[in-house]
Symmetry: D2
Subunit: 327 residues, 4 copies
């Protein structure tokens, strides 16, 4: 390939009340506020040396503007534009200077309609890893992955693997051999991007890596003592798939964030993707807990890169059922 | 008082398959097997220097034979006999030598019909606290408490506090001021004995102290990898009441065991019992999780100290409802 | 006995710079500041419902004013006065109102000259155990014990066990059978009061219980990131004796504080004190680390309950050597 | 470059007593024994799906035979041969089948004389990550890095960065701007290979990643209770450099192994290497502990890829002094 995508690098979320969101992510989850203005808050994890991995924009609606991938170098953006145009997909340039604290970006809709953004440049700031006196709540370390519901997982898989150069670490199939869900990566962890079958395109959740399991428990305690027990949606628990210890939270706008720790390194080229069957008893989370219905049914809506309007949802190609293992 | 009860000291459970139970408690939970014979397994926690705190007896039925309290000295047993006889309650002596690895015991039925046992003497064995190479699973430390459902909590409370010398650390009341549940102690922790309103007398659960929260999570992982994920009934989570981090498991016979860590010292005489209202939003577990129905509805049956027959259950005095906070 | 000592309950330390001390104990160690005035700071642990367990007084000298024990009831103080007077030891009453946030106290010098204080009454404040958003640093839970160097451990032991009603959990003897160190308790943990052979009477350290080992590590990280790495004197490590996981710190005045977690319950009357030999290979800390010389040689000086002058140190009765296991 | 090195993948150590080594690594540290024969033991971490990352060979001498790097594909080995030959460095092929459980390997001496090995193929075995019932001791996850003492760090740095394609994450300089130590990586962690100035070439240590800090503490407890407290050389502590929480152990042959957890992701191309000055107060370990002298002075000897004889040590180019921060 003529370009190299490094990793998932940020999400751009619309939120209704900036102050409420800041309190949740900074006081509750322990993110670092790099900068803010009247309409934006820019947040990063303790390990992150880039300006932000979460951009919150004040808005009327709780929607998702973009999922952003960092590429190796500026020219990669041009190659990516060609690739998306060649497949008849919408693209749009945002010149450097137009968005705060990020270089030139290429916005596109991927094969499922998800608004992606690619960039090579973001200001470098201090890594706060050793500023332990600022550790709070979940002590969030760095962005790990995003997970989207799409109507056709096989189509999304093919596009990400064949056109964008992702690899697959684990996947779920139906008994008939249809691809139900897939975990795809660029950086050598279990995933940067997961897809699962469902009405979409929708953002199911975005996820941050923590340094250990106790940080997950500490976060529950802190959120509960702040009066945010309602935010705790699922977990803590252990994923069968990926092996990660997890917790799912809903932020004040209902966006779902996963706290995630304990997956494995995937840099070996001889690693075979791990197959899970929808009927496998191990489909369930490792400890056998059931996820609540809303974890399956509620997702965040994307907006169009040009019009800013909400993207309509399409019914999934595979018959809908409640999969029990999706991460 | 003329006697001094020290602490809850053992439970005597009937189980159908000794080997299966041993595997659950030793390999899964990390208890130490002190001794076994064809019909018994004697288990203790890593910290315990007494012969056992859990006696498993091979039986046709999964019932509870006795909850045992250790007293300060041999003569205390005689005073206790008088006390129970004076209140018209059944008593029975089991001479030293008749039960393995325990001195003379006084068996009684308490005011709610629960089969209690009192003893002063048990063989001393090695404390395994520093035998770290034998740590497994939940790394169970020591017995902490028992929790019983009884039809009249106020009556049980009065008997334990006024006649037996227990103190109350925390309690739950209905809006009408009726006592719904109570946490009572002799050793200075939150409880040795809890009561909650329900059809009874029944054993709701017995509980062991762990040294930290990660031991609870490790136990979930170990049980799941041993194929025992079904045993995990509720949690891990944080109790509002007592503040303990908890996990409820069901052993192979359905007896419920709680893994428990993180309550507080209660030795100060000026400590006032903490009141919880059934309508208090904090009644729920601290993180807001709901307990599953079976946690409320399923309990273990006691047997009569003389006949060995199952004790009938009586409907609770207070109207039954699903309390959300009971520990 | 006609009185009942409950537990070690506070230390009264003189410090040169209140603000510096407050920063160390509150920001670094996570203690809760209950109250302060121009010349005092009153601190407590997250679990403590009493007004304070550490009173810091602004002073010219970094000395120790008193080690305070809580007794069961007000009249116990009168019995204690008689006991000390009968043994020819100095006593002094401080009427209620003269010291802030504590009732009437009896000040005495014990058999080794240590300034002790007894009291029955202290204002009740909120237990902060579930205010997780205020957890910081070591997340200190509650006062655990004090450890004093005295020239004659056997004499101190006899006084505390025979006259004051303490029990012994563990002790160290020389090859000749002389008592080198002893761990004595009233509340059922390994100790409230430890003595070890050395020039004295001196305060070697006072100690707080933490809820787990990670809180110890977190404290090291937080102190180091605050620029206080110099405060870390010994550890983290595991004690052979008591089994506790520990860290020794020196506060800005050089007073030594131990963070301590993981000992065991000592309420059983049939528990035999555990003997350690000075030549036992297990005398060393459990992981085999050597304590630095200053940990043995540097201690805090007590002041006289009447004159306020520094108490002279007496050479130990047993030949001085570097014991490797003293906790 | 025409080849791609993926990561450090194994060490081949000579040990005098296979059984003793197996006990240390398997029972003490929790490694998985994949296979053994009379003269070899093959070990891997819980996360590793390759046959082994540690090969122990029975031998008369406690030396190091090779440090092995995995490459992307078989042909890479040929390119690497050319590269080493072009620089006048010794190379040697070991055909597939000659060594157990590994494909064709290229053995070379690097620019400092270190015996390296490159390979593309190793049998795939089961990842044990979710076999929690087999977790023991340190619960070792995967190989992380090797650290070598070399007489000329700048020369080693230039060779690894310019010829082999490594990147630098952190480095230490003298006041005069001479390179004292460097942390170099291929997989996106802080390092696969570190160099520090000293008599060499010597292996200072090899290191494994653990999943959390408590696994380090658990390992100390387990080793001590197995009678191996002597193996604990330095730590546990926190590195300033890399931020990792660490413990250094000496195996029964004196080979040094580091347990390591908590560094950071290094995949971003805009990450600048972090410079440390030898006079920087932060050179010391983050908590201010001093490393013992033997940590600086004792290292393992390499053997020649052809003769099998011990490689002579050369004095360092920079004046020797005790650096306090080297990881």
């Amino acid at each position: 390939m003529d370009f190299s995508i490094i990793r998932i690098a940020r999400t751009v979320l619309h939120v209704k009340d900036l102050e409420l969101s800041r309190k949740f992510y900074v006081d509750g989850l322990g993110m670092i506020e790099t900068e803010r203005d009247e309409n934006h808050v820019y947040l990063r994890g303790l390990e992150e040396h880039c300006h932000h991995s979460l951009a919150l924009k004040k808005s009327e609606k709780s929607v998702v503007e973009a999922l952003s991938y960092k590429v190796m170098k500026e020219e990669d953006l041009n190659f990516l534009e060609k690739l998306f145009l060649a497949q008849g997909l919408k693209t749009k340039w945002i010149p450097k200077g137009e968005q705060h604290a990020i270089g030139r970006t290429l916005r596109v809709h991927d094969i499922s309609g998800i608004p992606l953004e690619f960039f090579a440049e973001m200001p470098i700031v201090e890594r706060m890893l050793q500023k332990y006196e600022h550790y709070r709540g979940a002590k969030i370390q760095r962005i790990d992955h995003v997970n989207c519901a799409v109507p056709n997982v096989q189509k999304a898989y093919d596009f990400y693997v064949n056109s964008l150069g992702f690899s697959c670490s684990e996947y779920t199939e139906t008994e008939e051999g249809d691809l139900w869900a897939a975990w795809l990566f660029r950086k050598p962890t279990v995933h940067d991007q997961a897809f699962m079958s469902g009405p979409g395109p929708k953002l199911h959740h975005f996820a941050y890596t923590l340094s250990d399991r106790l940080s997950v428990l500490d976060c529950c305690d802190v959120l509960a003592s702040m009066g945010y027990a309602d935010c705790i949606e699922r977990g803590p628990g252990r994923h069968g798939l990926s092996n990660a210890f997890f917790l799912y939270l809903r932020d004040p706008d209902g966006h779902r964030i996963e706290l995630y720790t304990g997956d494995y390194l995937t840099c070996d080229p001889d690693m075979k993707p791990k197959r899970w069957d929808l009927n496998d008893p191990l489909r369930q989370t490792f400890w056998g807990h059931q996820a609540p219905d809303k974890w399956f049914n509620e997702t965040s809506t994307f907006i169009d890169i040009e019009t800013g309007e909400e993207i309509n949802s399409e019914e999934p190609k595979l018959e809908q059922r409640k999969p029990k293992i999706l991460v």
